[in-house]
Symmetry: C2
Subunit: 327 residues, 2 copies
């Protein structure tokens, strides 16, 4: 076994590293991002200043800063989902064109929803380009699929994916067999089918066997910004003889590892942090990691699921099974 | 289907009903219970006043109240686990004899540990009679076992227990097949074997098949007081033909219900609240309740696991398998 420089608690804390948003706002002069009186994110001082300076096509500034109360809000004319979405799109195009926000160089052409509206039928206050989600620190949603195999003798192994060195984020790190953000108003299940196909070349008829296994939630932070995230987790037992293959260039290679190899990889910090959290959740659910073999057990579990202080959608609205039935 | 007066969110909130301890302390004049500078519980104004008035056999008051800061602490002479445990035992004997604390009429002769000590080898600051745990609002630990059956065609049913009408708490309510508090320094796994035997008449060789399934955590409150609790959850598939039977008089009868019947029972508020939370956790883990069939999904999940602001033990210290191996 190679050196294991980190404990599992270190690794999950590396992902769930934001405990107190108020402290962060105060210490770093961030701005709370508030829509219709609801906290929906947090923006750095630098980004907030830039947002304040931009205007839409009719020279109206969409954003207002309250420096005293550390609040970034929409101007009063931006009073519904449609107007906010259009105004933010215009602003982001400008920031992208000027190169002011490095994050926007990796434009995704995918909209992430910001929830909390009492008037919009889907509860959406705003939809914005995914690449800017970190800048606004909005709550994001995704799916993570653990791809496993079971031998006749019951030995469990897990497929791990090495992320492409060309990936925008965490190049070369290890990942789940398939995972991705839920954008553009997609449903949870629909996202599973899509990611299984795109990232692992897993056909619909196999992806449909994924078993829903609960939720992880963490509040993370990287160079890109803040990310409070909810991940819907699935376990997918892959049939004998099936080998995943990269379908969209996001994965460099797949490897079938024993659980011990996976645990070593986690402790050696080889996994993308939120993937590590997802696998630790797997280890907890399946009894590989217990209160009795892991001294940090309860501290670890505390970091697999935290309440996030931002509104969430009611996902059933967007539900679409498209011929797949949940187990 | 009978009337379902409650949503699942109502039911889990009924259990996890304490969101903000500070608010409770301020609104109701409670006292934070602090040992060695660590918050370990909360005590009502009435109970705190009574604790302040009692003394040990040498006429020394073990407790001190700081009314300004709303703190209940030990007197300086009670400076280690042994002295605190002895002093509290003496105090509780007096409160029991005088009838001042109704809770102590149901004396359990079982010690619950209060954690957070930096000097005690097991991290225990104090051990106290279980019946008084609610009065001190200390963090407690338990095990809950979901007893299920699977038909050849895959239909899952769950054994539910009707609590004896003579039970001290929640008489007549529905319960898991086996559940109980972890006291007297027992291990998690040891407690599973013990409760399976005592409450369901489940022999060791069957109980050993229980599969560890994670943790629920809630902060509840009842007439008895505050209870921030951690429950280790297990699923136990019972063999065909096995029928549980009450071994210790705590259960009135057992019933084998379909998952639909169990869900109806939850919505009709027939289950002891923390058992309902444990079953909802089961429903989430096994995909009966998903983000796509339950509009309150994320709010429900938020109430199955909350961080508790009190120290926890490192359970592995007390681990004993006694011949049983985890899954």
């Amino acid at each position: 076994m190679a050196d294991t420089a980190f404990s599992i608690l270190d690794i999950v804390r590396r992902c769930n590293c934001v405990d107190d948003l108020d402290l962060l706002v105060n210490d770093e002069g961030m701005y709370r991002f508030v829509i219709d009186g609801k906290l929906v994110g947090a923006v750095s001082d630098k980004d907030a200043q830039q947002l304040q300076m931009v205007s839409d096509e009719q020279a109206r500034p969409p954003f207002a800063l309250d420096m005293e109360r550390r609040l970034l809000t929409f101007s009063s004319w931006c009073d519904n989902r449609k107007k906010r979405t259009a105004a933010v799109a215009t602003v982001l195009e400008q920031l992208r064109a000027s190169g002011a926000w490095a994050s926007l160089a990796k434009w995704r052409s995918e909209l992430y929803m910001v929830y909390g509206s009492a008037t919009d039928p889907d509860g959406v206050s705003l939809a914005l380009e995914r690449a800017a989600s970190y800048n606004f620190g909005i709550r994001t949603f995704g799916v993570h699929i653990n791809g496993i195999t079971k031998s006749e003798l019951g030995q469990v192994r897990m497929w791990v994916a090495r992320r492409s060195l060309q990936k925008q984020t965490w190049p070369g790190y290890l990942d789940q067999i398939a995972a991705g953000g839920i954008g553009d108003g997609m449903g949870v299940w629909e996202s599973v089918i899509k990611e299984c196909n795109e990232e692992g070349g897993i056909p619909r008829e196999i992806a449909c066997r994924a078993k829903y296994a609960g939720v992880i939630q963490y509040f993370t932070r990287s160079d890109l910004g803040l990310q409070p995230e909810t991940q819907f987790v699935f376990d997918l037992v892959l049939p004998d003889g099936f080998t995943p293959y990269p379908n969209d260039g996001e994965v460099d290679s797949f490897h079938l590892w024993t659980i011990e190899e996976v645990i070593d990889g986690i402790k050696q910090d080889k996994f993308k942090p939120n993937c590590a959290v997802c696998i630790v959740h797997f280890l907890v659910r399946h009894g590989y990691l217990t209160a009795e073999n892991e001294p940090d057990y309860l501290d670890i579990v505390d970091n697999l699921y935290v309440r996030l202080p931002f509104p969430a959608p009611r996902f059933s609205i967007a539900a679409e099974r498209r011929g797949c039935d949940q187990p």
